[in-house]
Amino acid sequence: MRAWNSPEKARVQNQINYTGVFVPFDRSWKEQLGALGRKLPAEDQEALGIAAFTTHVLRSFVSSLRQILDIDDESTGETVVGRSISRHQEVELTQSVANSWYLSPEVPTLSGLHLALTDRLSDIAELSSQASLLSEKDARNRLANETFLHLQFLAALSSGIERIENVIGELGQWALLFDELELAPTAIIDLIVRSLRSADPRFLFKLSLSPYTPNYEMTIESAMPGHDYDLLKLWYPNKEDSYKFCRGIVQQMIAGRDLEQRTVEDVFGRSVFEGETEVDSAKPTAGYHPGSAEHKRFSALAERDRSFNDYLVQHNINLDCMDQLSEPMKARVRKLAAVVTVRETFLSTISPNGEAKFRSRKNPTLYSGATVLFDASEGNPRLLIGLVDRLLDTRQDSGRVKRNRQATEIGFALARFRAYLKTIPTEKALVPIGGARGLLAFLDTIGKHFFDQVCGPEFNAEPALSFVVDSTTTDRIMDVLAQAMNAGAIIEVSGLGSTTVSGNLRGTRFRLAYLLATQHRLPLILGRAHSLREVMISSGVQRDLF
């Protein structure tokens, strides 16, 4: 909160009536927990892992406690949250909490307590190493005799908070913020989920998890959706739902570069996928007026593509009078615009034998403009900030960022994303598709199918740009879909429901992430849906997988 500079800060601060305790996980920590006690029986290994996790939570709690008891913000002179305590109180509460947690800090201060917990994490690793050298029975006894190994994180926190409050009075609620929990060992996830039903009103829980965990379900015995927890999806099936959030971030970044008077569109321009607006339609060259950019695109395509020309004739659309169409017809034309734009950009000709030929467009500025940046980020603030930050460094004196620069940066982001998808380990040999294997080959097959829908020999006004998972899809393909979903490569559009963290993906509708869609030269719209079976089998994948 101290680091956040936003006009919203005061309003948001007033709404927060708890203290956050951030408990991070990452892949490195996951592997280290997994390697801990690997030579010991599974039960002992689990005990060590849980002890390490408990210590990690208690350390995070003490960090937060130190922050709220340190009341003066030296940079602004502003009091953020706070409780002033005396040195004597600090000693008293530290000793009391240390007793409860079986710690002996060298110095009876909160920083001493924090350091003692840091040392405990080292002790756990040493204990694991020593136990590995003992017989199974001796190792079990050794671990059983270490009392701190048997602390439960929530009970320890409750006890600690009670002792602190005995000294300095009530501290209010605590929000335990577990990040990237899908990386934690299953035993730890189980422990946390069981804690959701805790009756202690001092605790709130925020669990950040991958959208799909096929081997794990929150069962009735552990927690009930809608009662014990609410599910918040951090992805946007409809891209427009992310725009307010994205716009706010980017506007703030622009203001931070001394461009306060500029809007997001002033700096990055509008995306061609947005089509006309009421404001634009007032200009003579805007919208679908003859001479406008849209009109030129429609006309250019009609000239090259007989099937598109036939479509226009069939639907009584006169390109020179598009701005005078009835409202229903205008709506139809607006729906076509994204498809026409992409087709016109990439389609060269249709040969007499019906083969589509394509233009070589290395860095099309098609993928540029404010809302394209929002779409490519899928509302992910880290990705959006990374993209925009680099682009703002290249802005011209006018404050604008050139379109080809934007397209290049999206290309870099795409390369990074594809490299990441290639790195996700594939433990089983995946379905070979056209001789290639792996998650990326699977996604590229879907992308190619959608491209054929948009730029095939015959104009398609409503191409399929999403897919539905068939009920007959095998578990092998389900594993791939789960990987893709958790990696953010496919985005759930509908069907997963709002009350479960894990569930059956069959019947769910997905689209490709828009960043991946740029690789396959697709319009950044939702489109119709094809069944996944239809997508794959038309691409040569064996039928027995569906």
Partner: protein
């Protein structure tokens, strides 16, 4: 872990009678180059081979080692772990108390996982008494990178021993990546791990075509990386590389969690493991591999040998 590391002069190898010589039966022709060129002498000589991908020069290599008097075994990874630890323990145990055991390992065709097993075994023996281990590596003549990247099946610590441990898991990760010429492999791993800080180690001192290929394969990463974070290292001078890497890691571990990701030449993998030992337990070493899905490719020796001489169980302060 106490370590003392010096440069290995390959010309001295012929003058040493080793307690144990360990080489690898692989499919690359260069797998036998060291033994052919140096004919090292030792009390025990063993060649441990892979039980998969017995293609290309595999059988010729096996025959060569057998003719040269090596005890040859074709072993799975689990068997390799057991057998190599046993061989090392036996060699150390046989050495009288007034002399330090001396072992030589050719890492040229070993997998990174197998190198990790050997380094761990030597380190553990070094806790009881100092052990001298010479590591040799035969760089390969240039061959163009494959057009299709291999399917990655493993992206995790090279072994449990090298997983490392942090008592400050909230600290950011600091990644030290050795670059290779597999297209976009380094940037993929970095996206997977999301480190807060990145240093890349760029291999030089060999065929210029390698450098060009590495540059090209990592163009996105190198374009975006701060120039200060790119360190060119000389493949023929692994001790220099160790010094730079160790200095950086030992400094960085005060405020971040070091994670070493050695892609590219295998000598960098060895160096990374040694740096990890010197900075244990904080520094972990990861492996990104296609395993048995890796396309078998013929690699021939340049005719050079590079190496380091490591004394496990003693450091420069003794």
């Amino acid at each position: 872990m106490k370590l003392k590391i010096e440069s290995l002069d390959p010309t001295t190898i012929g003058r040493v009678h080793y307690d144990l010589i360990l080489v690898c039966i692989g499919y690359e022709k260069r797998a036998r180059y060291f033994v052919e060129a140096k004919t090292p002498e030792g009390k025990s000589k063993f060649a441990l081979g892979f039980d998969i991908q017995k293609v290309l020069s595999y059988n010729k290599n096996l025959n060569h080692f057998q003719s040269a008097g090596y005890g040859c075994s074709v072993v799975s990874f689990a068997e390799f772990s057991e057998q190599s630890r046993h061989l090392i323990r036996e060699a150390v145990g046989r050495t009288s108390s007034d002399a330090d055991p001396r072992i030589i390992v050719d890492i040229t065709s070993l997998s990174r996982a197998r190198i990790a097993v050997l380094v761990e075994a030597l380190a553990e023996e070094g806790r009881q008494r100092p052990v001298n281990a010479d590591f040799v590596y035969s760089p390969a003549k240039y061959s163009a990178p494959g057009k299709q990247p291999d399917l990655i099946t493993t992206c995790k610590p090279v072994s449990d021993y090298f997983a490392g441990w942090s008592n400050k898991p909230e600290q950011p990760l600091a990644a030290f990546v050795g670059l290779g010429y597999e297209i976009e492999k380094a940037i993929g791993v970095l996206e997977y791990l999301e480190p807060g800080w990145i240093w890349v180690f760029f291999p030089t001192g060999t065929d210029k075509r390698y450098e060009k290929a590495v540059e090209s394969a990592n163009s996105t990463l190198l374009t975006e990386l701060n120039r200060n974070r790119r360190i060119n290292y000389l493949v023929p001078r692994p001790l220099d590389c160790y010094t730079i890497l160790n200095t950086l890691v030992s400094k960085v571990k005060e405020t971040a969690r070091p994670i070493l990701i050695p892609l590219g030449p295998k000598i960098f993998s060895l160096i990374s493991m040694l740096v990890s030992l010197a900075n244990s337990p904080e520094a972990s070493v990861w492996r990104v591999s296609a395993g048995e899905h890796q396309a078998a490719k013929q690699r021939r020796a340049t005719g050079e040998l590079v190496g380091v001489a490591v004394r496990f169980g003693e450091d420069d302060r003794n």
